[in-house]
């Protein structure tokens, strides 16, 4: 399966934010936990409003949570 062009650092950020659970993030972003799982796994590209809500849940700008890579390569993780 081709990698998504939208990469994200949600998993890392969750653990950096007090080991936030997927359910807690889902509640903050007003989506189901399944959707958070799908986004984390790169199986679903969120809409722009949802991407902003997820970024807001971490208190970070959008580009620090989601990255666009033209060829689907994973961005360097810090």
């Amino acid at each position: 399966m081709a990698k998504s062009e939208i990469q994200n650092r949600i998993r890392r950020l969750r653990f950096d934010h007090g080991e936030m659970t997927q359910q807690q993030l889902a509640d903050k972003a007003r989506v189901t936990r399944q959707t958070i799982i799908a986004i984390e796994a790169g199986k679903y590209a969120p809409s722009l409003p949802l991407a902003f809500r997820i970024a807001a849940a971490f208190g970070l700008p959008l580009e620090e949570v989601f990255q666009y890579t033209a060829n689907g390569d994973a961005p360097p993780d810090d």
Binding site: T21, Q22, A26, D27, R30, V31, T32, R33, Q34, T35, I37, A38, Y44, P46, S47, L50
Partner: protein, 142 residues
């Protein structure tokens, strides 16, 4: 696994079993072995059980039970259902000619059955599409 997945599983299992029993009944009838009626009854029971199980799935709990991804998957499922009905209509339009020949005829009493067939076809395709889009099972807990 969410409510839609559970409903889709119930329908897919029930309808698949029903289809299997109908095929067996048809073969037994064609081969003139007898015993086809119990298989038709079993198919009806399997289909009924699937529909009842589908209707009895409890609603999801939690603050958010549906979001943009669920709506997108629902749209895909409806599209798959529409495609399946379209395919069904094409097949049943040409199947009598292919089987009976150009001069063949079928009793009009079978015509209302096409509506039921199209409905079942749509439900099956929608359930399959739902399971494909969501994935077959549950998800990781963290």
């Amino acid at each position: 696994m969410n409510r839609e997945q559970k409903r889709a599983w119930a329908l897919v299992v029930g309808m698949s079993l029903a289809l299997l029993f109908v095929i067996i009944a048809g073969l037994l009838h064609l081969l003139d072995v007898g015993w086809s009626r119990p298989f038709v009854c079993a198919a009806a029971v399997a289909l009924g059980a699937g529909v009842i199980a589908c209707l009895r799935v409890k609603p999801d709990t939690g603050a958010v039970t549906s979001d943009e991804r669920d709506k997108e998957i629902e749209k895909s499922a409806y599209l798959a259902g529409f495609g399946a009905v379209y395919l069904f209509v094409i097949v049943v339009s040409f199947a009598p000619i292919a089987i009976l020949g150009e001069d063949g005829s079928i009793p009009v009493k079978y015509m209302p059955g096409l509506l039921l067939g199209a409905g079942l076809c749509q439900a099956y395709a929608m359930s399959i599409a739902t399971l494909v889009k969501y994935g077959r099972g549950g998800d990781r807990h963290e």
